[in-house]
């Protein structure tokens, strides 16, 4: 199959190319090879089967430092 680049070097790729596909474009001399890239498999961390009761966490600031800095120090 031939594809012809327009004035802006754009071409329409044949099926099964689909909108949104991502290709690696490799030039080898006069040849240009398009290699379709696959999305990496997504590994999602689990959530506990036994969620904590939010009421038990009331008043607890998880952003509070575990190791509080000294309050009276500054840069040397």
């Amino acid at each position: 199959m031939k594809v012809i680049a327009d004035q802006k070097r754009r071409v329409v790729l044949p099926k099964p190319c689909a909108p949104g596909d991502v290709y690696e474009c490799v030039s080898i001399g006069d040849r240009i090879v398009l290699e379709r890239l696959q999305k990496p498999e997504r590994h999602v961390p689990p959530i506990s089967d036994n969620p904590l009761n939010p009421k038990l966490m009331e008043g607890i600031d998880l952003d509070e430092p575990a190791f509080p800095p000294m309050t009276d120090e500054g840069l040397a």
């Binding site: 999602v44 959530i47 506990s48 009761n53 939010p54 607890i60 998880l62 952003d63 000294m70």
Partner: protein, 131 residues
Amino acid sequence: MKALLDTGVWFRRYHGLPQKSSLTEFLNEEVTEFYLSNLSIAEIVFKWQRGRLPSIPDPKDWIQHATTNFIMVNPTTNASLQAGLWKREHGDLVDRMLAAIALEEGLTLVHTDKVLKNQTGFPQKYFPNAG
């Protein structure tokens, strides 16, 4: 997006605690790779051992499961140097280390820390806490 979860974000998400829908959506839709530092484990266990997280089960019973599918990152010498040298008022050592790791590894630090959000020099995304 490659995201390094702050200790609180990781902990809340795993234990099913309330978080902003925008954060949930971000984690579900935008994050392609989840990163966690062993510093976060140490921070949570340290707090738990000193009774600052009284309602939390023994971490030995859930830490392994809670770190599943995370890519674990640890501070390098350069990141540790950066964490110490930053001339910022934010003195939380763990946060400084996480910020330095994010900078060095090209990760976005996802957090809910109102103090940290005002710091610059590293990739970050801040979400307010729920409630």
